[in-house]
Symmetry: C2
Subunit: 272 residues, 2 copies
């Protein structure tokens, strides 16, 4: 049991499914028990897809993990690769079945597309560097849209999704610069165009994300209160650009913290 939990990484999956709820909360208008029902089902779907993705990650990384993470369930021999594959398939299938209970065809289709993207990522795209970074960042952005769809597709959630996509992409690139020595079987962006240019690309994505942040205030009638809160996130994002050039570990962690502040700004801004 402990091996299977370690394989599915439920905590990591819970954190991601939180994004679904946040998307739904930002998109809310009038709220009924039905919307909550749908939102909970969407959340459960994201949770199952993420757990399946985590299992798949260990399944495909079994060889590399024998050196890097010898205590993980598969390299340590606790769980066979075949069992892990069955578990991933069962979780993916359950996710699709659960998503049907949203009674929302678009949400079912998106769940299936997300699953296919995730399998592509783990199977092939991870090794492709930037392409892999883009796929995983698209999936991160999609989580908010998915929650929003339990109610309606909100433009505000789309802006949040684009910002999350850009920030996550920037962070993936900074992480690839951080790991450039250890990455032997991945053709990452810094390996192709060098560390300096990669960090410049990452900085450009951050700057675009930051410059999108006043939109809810400028065009959607959000109160100035939102600007005060999102300013903290923007300052952290800009700081992350400067730190990334000197210390990628601090830089990528700062992007993560800035993203959390940004989420809080959206939650608060949408509610006042």
């Amino acid at each position: 049991m402990k091996g299977y939990i370690s394989l599915m990484r439920p905590l990591n999956a819970i954190m991601a499914s939180l994004g679904t709820i946040i998307g739904g909360i930002i998109a809310r208008e009038s709220l009924s028990a039905l919307y909550f029902y749908r939102l909970y089902i969407a959340m459960a779907t994201v949770f199952l897809v993420l757990m399946a993705g985590n299992v798949l990650n260990d399944y495909f990384d079994a060889d590399v993990d024998r050196i890097n993470h010898p205590k993980r369930p598969i390299p340590s021999g606790q769980i066979s690769r075949a069992s892990a594959r069955v578990l991933a398939i069962v979780l993916f299938a359950t996710a699709v079945v659960v998503s049907v209970f949203t009674f929302n065809l678009i949400q079912v289709i998106i769940a299936i597309i997300a699953i296919l993207l995730l399998i592509t990522y783990e199977w092939k795209a991870k090794a492709l560097g930037l392409t892999g970074n883009i796929i995983i960042s698209l999936l991160v952005g999609l989580i908010f849209v998915y929650g929003s769809l339990s109610i309606r597709l909100s433009y505000l959630v789309l802006i949040l999704s684009v910002m999350a996509f850009l920030a996550n992409l920037a962070r993936e690139i900074v992480k690839d610069v951080e790991d450039v020595r250890g990455d032997v079987n991945r053709v990452t962006l810094p390996k192709k165009i060098g560390k300096g240019l990669s960090l410049v690309a990452s900085a450009v994505f951050i700057v675009i994300a930051v410059s999108l942040s006043p939109i809810p205030y400028l065009f959607f009638g959000w109160k100035i209160f939102y600007v005060f809160v999102v300013a903290i996130s923007d300052i952290l994002f800009i700081a992350s650009v400067f730190f990334s050039f000197h210390d990628q570990t601090v830089g990528q962690n700062l992007i993560k913290v800035a993203m959390i502040f940004g989420l809080i700004a959206f939650l608060v801004g949408s509610s006042i």
Copy 2:
């Protein structure tokens, strides 16, 4: 520079100062630029106190870290113990000076009390097990009150603080059960009363925290929406109780995730 940043752990301090903003947001009534000014100053104070605390932690743990974390700035010889002590004192002093700019005597006094508690904790109380757990959990609860005081002392923020105190205390105890083998120079609760009774105590704190969660709905007129969101947090807290008895690593991490969901429920609930 890198050594000093590693000593101050700014990311960890940013996360804590986030709690100040959340306290201020929940307590808000009418909002003016003055309140934001005060809230930012309070946030800066918490940030500086936390960084000073992190430096102090490395200062007092230098001997233990020679074995457990040999690459940390002090054991690796990058920064001397004397320099670390000076840095901690400068940061604490700066925090007090900054807190004066809230122009709020209560906030200045609380900052000083928090600093004294933190020094006591790092110096002596950490080794005392439960007493140390209580001090650190009090400080966690205090962060929200501190932000709230930039506006007014809100009963709702007090409830959140009590819940955060209880959940954090429960988590500290589960962590002490997790580390019971490695802890040689700390007389923790599980060492005094055993693992089983410690986990029961932790479960009691969680159950009290969960049973406080409907108060904003029952007595403060918050919408049923809040109950839907806080229910997720409550379910995770209850799940953490069951997991803690089998796997303390999963249990204490689940408490952390449940706390994040609980914060989101308060943010959303206070805003609708």
